[in-house]
């Protein structure tokens, strides 16, 4: 049995998971999700890791491989690091075996990744302009509108006449939103307009990577925003892409899950190659 931990150091949050794997048998033992909120990410990563150990009653020495991803390259107790695309792809396959593409929508970027059934990255494309396709932008807008982030998705789904929002620039989009508020546009219509704008950009990324079959799996901090999910499926239909987007309650953990599972795989590989000292 291999015990592996995955720690995803994101821009806004740290996600940590612990897995036990035995052949094909994968057992998810524990998870933590901490908002960073101006705290030291490295200390927070350590706290999350220690809480995983405490919950599972394990010692650090019993963890065979601790893998980081995201911005976790400097986590001092890690065995190895995997790039975030690699881990989100693997996490997506774990949570949604039918996934053949991933939309990783984090605090500062959006990325479309085409994958195969093993979780191997085949191609990818990232948002290239600015923050208007990101969680941080949405967080700013929710602050202007005076609503909690958790309300964004529900309110967006209540829209009856969505407003068009700039899809190019976060600064212009924020100006748009301020104008809309002064014109008395309702929060649901503003939010739906923003979601449609973001969804349009994300759908274009999927088209560029030639995501043509299977499920589009949503990962990253915005994955559970049902308003965005709805807008995305509308955009995919409008663009005549015959694919559907889906999320999972554990979507935000996809990167950490991928890191842990690749860590376990890597541990076995090193063991087979007689190079286990690399995972010490």
């Amino acid at each position: 049995m291999t015990i592996s931990a995955g720690i995803d150091v994101g821009t806004g949050a740290i996600k940590a998971v612990l897995f036990e794997t035995e052949g094909e048998q994968i057992n998810w033992r524990a998870k933590r999700n901490f908002k960073i909120r101006q705290r030291d990410p490295l200390k927070l990563a350590r706290t999350a890791f220690e809480e995983l150990l405490e919950e599972t009653g394990l010692d650090e020495a019993q963890v065979d491989y601790t893998a980081t991803t995201g911005d976790g390259e400097n986590v001092p107790f890690a065995t190895g690091h995997f790039y975030s695309m690699t881990t989100h792809a693997r996490g997506a396959i774990y949570l949604e075996p039918e996934a053949r593409s991933v939309l990783d929508i984090g605090a500062l970027h959006g990325r479309a990744i085409k994958i195969n059934d093993l979780g191997k990255v085949l191609s990818y494309r990232m948002t290239s302009q600015c923050a208007s396709g990101s969680g941080q932008f949405l967080e700013n807008i929710s602050r202007y509108l005076g609503i909690a982030q958790s309300e964004i998705g529900t309110l967006s789904l209540q829209a009856d006449e969505p407003e068009t929002v700039s899809s190019i620039c976060a600064v212009l989009a924020e100006t748009d939103v301020i104008n809309m508020v002064s014109r008395g546009i309702t929060a649901p219509n503003i939010l739906r307009g923003i979601h449609l704008s973001m969804a349009g950009r994300l759908a274009k990324l999927l088209r560029v990577v030639k995501a043509e079959d299977g499920i589009v799996f949503l990962s990253g901090g915005l994955a559970l925003d049902d308003g965005l999910l709805g807008a995305l499926n509308d955009s995919l239909t409008d663009m005549k892409l015959k694919i559907n987007a889906r999320n999972h309650p554990d979507s935000p953990f996809a990167g950490a899950i991928g890191a842990a599972l690749w860590g376990s795989f890597r541990y076995q590989k090193l063991l087979d190659q007689g190079l286990l000292e690399k995972a010490s």
Binding site: E73, G80, Y83, T86, W262
Partner: protein, 386 residues
């Protein structure tokens, strides 16, 4: 001496675009002179034997704003000649007594002409190396070049340079070469104990301080690195190729390491290990230097390769010797030698199933995210799919 202190000193030297260490060395004695040189290789032994300090110049890096330098060159060439001109025009190199421009490419050759015009009263030499490796042809030519250089230095200092003096300098540089090799071998064996960014700073320091000081510094580093407890990471082993002239920003080296790669060999600052073996210290010194250049020197795109089938063999040997899992071709934008040879090298790697990726940089590249993406995914590919 602790690693932290050694690297702090190296970083100070790295950041110092006023070259205060060389200035201070020169100021200590009115007879002292400083002879600057550019990449890839010059026979520092002759400079040293002349009583001068060799000073390696590799451009202005990412901390220097190039304003004047851009006026001297068209837009489609690399950055090192622009920032070197900037160093010259802004007076930062006024203290040097001469400058050598080894034959590496047309741009550097043109730079030697410009330098002559900018500094008409200074010693400036375009140092040509052989492109024929037959003793009686290229070897003879190179000995004449070395004699010409030696006589030029003697005229500059007003003192003849004896064969014994060059042999004594060869002995000192033999020691430096041995230590450089030892550090590279140490890093290859235990890359987690000697990060590439540290080794780079250590080698970079050798450009701007006297060789004797550099030898002591490398000994201290080896001793300290052996003692330092650093965690082993599950990173893959890579060789860097193409960075022999204009140097990458330090952040680029750190980015490659952070993305999950151990750099086990590279061609950064190749001049200090250009000659691959110890040289005899009791013969005709110039002949010894010429023989070593012809038959026991490193290979790079800036050195003529007479047989097509030999192109890439040196790199392939490095991959095997250092048990590298892949090669990262990282060359400066517009570097003719590196970029023209790259397709031949990548073909050679492909023939031998050595995974590789390629990208370009400039000495002032600031955006590391695209590099991080390429090297990070490359490392993942090596670890998971190869």
């Amino acid at each position: 001496m602790a690693i932290k202190d050694i690297i702090e000193r190296c970083t100070e030297l790295f950041d110092d675009l006023e070259f205060n260490a060389a200035k201070n060395w020169k100021a200590a004695d009115p007879d002292r002179k400083v002879m600057a040189y550019m990449p890839v290789y010059v026979p520092e032994e002759i400079i040293h034997a002349a009583g001068m300090m060799p000073l390696g110049i590799v451009g202005g890096g990412d901390q220097m704003e190039v304003i004047h330098g851009d006026a001297y060159y068209q837009s489609y060439i690399c950055r090192i000649p622009r920032s070197t001109i900037e160093l010259g025009v802004t007076g930062k190199l006024d203290f040097i007594d001469g400058m050598l421009f080894p034959s590496i490419c047309d741009v550097i050759r043109n730079l030697s002409g410009m330098w002559k015009m900018i500094h008409p009263d200074k010693f400036v030499s375009y140092f040509d190396v052989p492109q024929n490796f037959v003793d009686g042809i290229g070897g003879e030519y190179y000995v004449r070049e070395l004699e010409h250089l030696r006589d030029g230095f003697a005229e500059l200092t007003g003192k003849p340079i004896s064969n014994d003096a060059i042999n004594r300098s060869i002995a000192i540089y033999n020691e430096r070469r041995r230590l450089v090799r030892e550090i590279y071998e140490f890093r290859s064996e235990t890359p987690w104990k000697a990060p590439a960014s540290e080794v780079y700073l250590l080698m970079r320091a050798g450009l701007v301080i006297p060789v004797e000081e550099h030898i002591a510094m490398m000994k201290d580093y080896l001793a300290a690195a052996n003692e330092e407890q650093r965690p082993l990471r599950d990173s893959c082993r890579v060789v860097i190729n193409g960075s022999f002239c204009e140097q990458p920003p330090l952040n680029l080296i750190k980015t490659i390491e952070m993305s999950g790669c151990y750099i086990v060999d590279d061609d950064y600052l190749l001049g200090n290990r250009w000659l691959l073996e110890d040289l005899a210290t009791d013969g005709n010194a110039l002949q010894v230097l010429a023989d070593a250049f012809l038959h026991h020197s490193a290979d790079t795109a800036a050195k003529y390769c007479t047989r097509k089938e030999d192109v890439g063999q040196f790199l392939l040997q490095s991959v095997k010797q250092h048990k590298a899992e892949g090669v990262i071709f990282a060359a400066p934008s517009f570097c003719d030698p590196a970029l023209l040879e790259r397709p031949m090298l990548t073909d050679r790697m492909t023939e031998h199933d050595v995974p590789h990726i390629s990208f370009k940089y400039a000495e002032n590249s600031g955006q590391m995210q695209p590099i991080r993406e390429q090297t990070g995914t490359f490392a993942d590919t090596l670890k998971l799919w190869s």
